[in-house]
Amino acid sequence: MINKATQPQNYSLTALRLCGFALIVILGFGVVFVLSNYVDARRVSLPESYDDSNLSFQGKRLKGFALGGEGLLADWYWMRALQYMGEKIIKADGNINIEDLSSLNPRLLYPMLDNATDLDPKFMAAYSYGAIVLPAIDRDQAVALTEKGIANNPDAWRLFQYLGYIYWRADDFANAANVYDRGSKINGAPPFLKQMSAAMRTQGGSRDTARQIYTQMRNESEDQQSRQNAELRLMQLDSLDELDAVNSSLKALTANGSPCPKSLAPVMPLLRDIKLPGGRNFRVNEQRQLVDPSGVPYFLDEKTCTAYVDGINSKIPKL
């Protein structure tokens, strides 16, 4: 039987207990929050080599022993490869040259992509990413990965396109032409490969050829990073065309001994009559400044009276 007189006392005791529990929980989480930040801020900094510790497993040895989960492991290596490069780029704080990434020391990128494609030999995005990024690190590794892709997927004409691209970037136009030619013989290969084979033999180093290669890559690559890279390269080609026109106009302005202008504004009337490839027009921002394809104003070096891409603010890769 409940003693009515003690009931309010019991209720207040329960409420007190609940408040006590709530206080402990809140205080506990508060302590956890503070300690978490405290320990995190005082973490022993690891040597840089820690990030690059060798891979624990080799994909080809894991194959067959992953209980059928090879695809999942391949995805894991793929994500690790992306994060690995991302971390390297973030650490470099934007000071990267996409023509030569060896300064980032990304020595594990190839083993990761190699593992991913050992575990899933049909992983086209990994081959594509390797073909685009590895030439800036180690061309032989880029060729090895893409050749492996061709051996595993002999009907994938896209891999021939990537291999041709790797040779083209190394100015090895003869090999590039051969590879494009081999690719063009595959059933379902687009006529573009045949055209590229011919272009490599006749005008391998031309800007038009580069434009064709990067346009194809932007439109058809399997991964976003390759598409973004191709987009940047196309911007770079556009800016090269624009700078050729701007600099020849600057030369014309100073030909009769006139001083170099303080800005590019006096050049702009001269540019109106110039036709850029593909019928493009020069870009101007709201302040009526001449800008590069990424929207950053061109930089004018008054000493040499030459216009350049702004190496600090522009997204366009340095040459």
Partner: protein, 266 residues
Amino acid sequence: MNEPTPKGNVFGRVAAIAANTFREAIRDRILYNLVLFVLLITACAVLLGDLTDGQEARTIVNIGLGAMLLFGVFISIFVGVGLVSKEIEKRTVYAIFSKPVRRAEFVVGKYLGLCLTLLVNTFVMGVGVSAALLYAGDATLSFSIWGAIFLIFLELAIVTAVAVMFSTFSSTSLSALFTFLVFVIGNLSSSLRDLGATLGSAATKLLLDAIYYLLPNFSLFTFRTEAANGLVPNAPMLAGGFGYAAAYIVVVITIAVAIFSRRNFK
């Protein structure tokens, strides 16, 4: 072993036990694992876009089908090993066998009931993966994965049969352990056989060949990585896999029935 021959429809009695086992599994909240699975797949669909650089569809397939197999194997093992032994421990088996039910009908009915649970579970998970793929914008993969899902179900059906067989003569924990080992070795048997061929020892080769043929060869049902690349298992693979699974299940359930029929409950 001299059981009285019950009159009436065998299939009707097996179906009744199977339906009861299915209802029991639902009551035991077995299908609650679907909530976890849906959360996992939803998280994959939403979060993987950036992490995989546009390769979220293939990763959804790899994670989805991998989780489907893993969840299914856990259900097969932990529910399968308890199907028969629980009835014995709770002594409800006496009540069942006081009715005109053969022991073989009991084992087969129990097995089919759990298979039905797994079928529903696998189907709902398959729908979840397909929906996630549609969300990720890959309608083709959302249809092409169903061949691989069918193969996963066949693998689960074999694991369940093995679990039921062990549960007819062993304790629950040992049965679970044995079944898990069979699942692991069955997935490795093909690789182990290849390894045996390269080792050069005749005895090792014989042993690994014996393992390959005696234990279920789950590599026949492994098509997850290929499915993530948009490939579809061909008709011989599906039909052959179905035939292999059916034959293996018949053998294992027959052994289970033979052991259970000789078992003394006193």
